[in-house]
Amino acid sequence: MTPTRPLVEAVGLTKHFPIRGGPLGRQANVVRAVDGVDVTIGPGETLGLVGESGCGKTTTGRMLVRLIDPTDGRITFDGQSIEDLDAAAMRAVRRDMQIIFQDPYGSLNPRMSVQDIIAEPLEILNIGNASSRREQVAELLRVVGLAPYHAERFPHEFSGGQRQRIGIARALAVRPKLVVCDEPVSALDVSIQAQVVNLLKDLQAEFGLTYLFISHDLGVVRHISDRVMVMYLGKAVEVAPKRELYANPQHPYTQALLSAIPIPDPKRRTSRKVIRGDIPSPANPPSGCRFHTRCPHVMDVCRELEPQLLKGAPDHRVACHLVHPPSTARAENATT
């Protein structure tokens, strides 16, 4: 990609949630929600993050904005290392990173007016005074396609799509650089999804935003992203620019994922390669390659050795022994 400095760069992001168990409620095990993932997003870029339920997308996104403290790993935002910042120092950084949530119902406080909801980040970060905030809220509402008079209303008076717009306005209030969009359209009807996706794209153009766009809808991800990262069970298995990824998926899981999606074209009915089996529990991930239990090309080495995310084509990284046989992997690793 461009040689410019990435806006956010996370290395070895890891989050283990403790599971309490046993008679004394001691930590019995951990859910390896995210297990050593590297994320790099350049300024103005959109990174799509896809994967099945529970693979750690949300956790990754929340760690990036330090809503969750990582168990391990380093996060550099705009050149500043943020993983050890205390609450006060973090507050300064928060201006630049915001998050949009999936649930248009749960993400807005039902007891606050839209005005209060959107103005809240400004208030917390002490930006402007009451009247200037009022103006800003009106402007933000216009920006997301709502009207200023909506400011006096309460969330329950809005439809799902409109609520999502309110959530977006709130995220934009502090003029952030990075916005983590955690499945912002999954809960919406198709026709409304398109509205919101278009809006996000427009806003990106208008404000030069950088997105981490989380979704399990590969179509939407393709539409909005510049690059796409595929996760499986807490691991990144493939990262590539979107055209490359969709045209030339390397990891068997990515292939399966793409093949599983029904194409909205009755003329292209294909008998698809359906992968068998269920997603294993992240509390007891399989040894070696985590996908080996469902992989159609599984080899012995997959059960023992964990593949590394390695560069194949330029900017195309894959973690698979098929692509990077273990013997060569070490050598390649050295050169990357």
Partner: protein
């Protein structure tokens, strides 16, 4: 499951400690002096002082507390000042009386409460529903001591169907027991019955709205199977969890009810112990009752976990 039970048991320990602390320190605040009660009203001050020494009441607070705990661990809750008997012994002797009435009331509560609740839910918004719920609401609002007095007048005095007071152990005479405990049990149960009917009704309505009920209907099961099997078991699970609370409330009500009906149970024991400043009985009795209820709830929780496969053992 085993781990779950053990964990629940371990939770009980700090709670028990706090319970015992509450029971002990509570009565230290009490004005009045048990030594006077023991020594008799016409005793002289020196005599009272002698009694106080005898009973250890002249020791500082922490010494009394430690002594109490030390004895507690030996299963000794002391001797009643007034009855001159071992507290554990008197309490345990009274417990069956209160328990038998509370269980009787519980059975009444469960049978009528659940039945009425289900009937009302199945006939939602009909006059049956309204009638049942009105009765339940009124039941919930009646003060039990007042109800007891009224019931005595109606059923014992005017109609003469049931005895006015007293208690016949069921080990001696089942019919006599039933006759002597029916009015107290009804007075106790009324409120809980109403409450349970309401809980059952709302739970039933809630369950009937669930997807799996729709599934059962979609499978072509007849209504009695849908309600009697699929809904009922799901209704019973939350109901089981309130049994502990209901039981506790029933036992609690026994203080007044046992006084009104002159029944020699734990309620009247504790009630009069409080009025007479019988420290060991108050402390020991409260402790025993609270402990019993705590353990009962533990058992219910475990049963609940057993019955409801949805309970996650790894969560609190």
């Amino acid at each position: 499951m085993i781990a779950y039970i053990i964990r629940r048991l371990l939770y009980v320990i700090p709670v028990l400690l706090i319970i015992s602390l509450i029971s002990f320190s509570l009565m230290q605040l009490v004005p009045g002096d048990p030594a006077i009660v023991v020594a008799g009203t016409s005793a002289s001050n020196e005599e009272i002082e002698r009694v106080r020494e005898q009973l250890g009441l002249n020791q500082p607070f922490h010494v009394q507390l430690l002594t109490w705990y030390a004895n507690l661990f030996r299963g000794d809750l002391g001797t009643s000042f007034l009855l001159g008997r071992d507290v554990v012994e008197v309490t345990l002797e009274r417990l069956p009386v209160s328990l038998s009435i509370a269980i009787y009331a519980l059975v009444l509560t469960l049978i009528f409460g659940i039945m009425l609740g289900i009937i009302a839910a199945l006939r939602q918004n009909s006059w049956v529903d309204q009638a049942v719920m009105t009765v339940a609401l009124i039941g919930v609002s009646l003060p039990n001591f007042w109800l007891g007095l009224i019931l005595i007048v109606i059923f014992a005095v005017e109609l003469g169907w049931l005895p006015t007071a007293g208690y016949v152990p069921f080990t001696e005479d089942i019919v006599g027991w039933l006759r002597s405990t029916t009015l107290p049990a009804v007075s106790l149960a009324m409120l809980q019955m109403g409450l349970l009917a309401r809980i059952t009704r709302s739970t039933m309505l809630e369950v009937l709205r669930q997807d799996y009920i729709r599934t059962a209907r979609a499978k072509g099961l007849p209504e009695h199977v849908v309600v009697g099997k699929h809904a009922l078991k799901n209704v019973m699970i939350p109901v089981i969890t309130v049994i502990g609370i209901i039981f506790s409330v029933l036992l609690s009500g026994s203080v007044v009810i046992e006084t009104i009906f002159s029944i020699p149970g734990v309620g009247s024991l504790l009630g009069s112990a409080i009025l007479r400043r019988d420290y060991p009985v108050i402390q020991g009795g409260l402790l025993l009752v609270a402990t019993m209820l705590l353990l009962l709830n533990l058992v219910i929780d475990v049963l609940y976990a057993y019955f409801d496969s949805r309970v996650r053992y790894d969560r609190d």
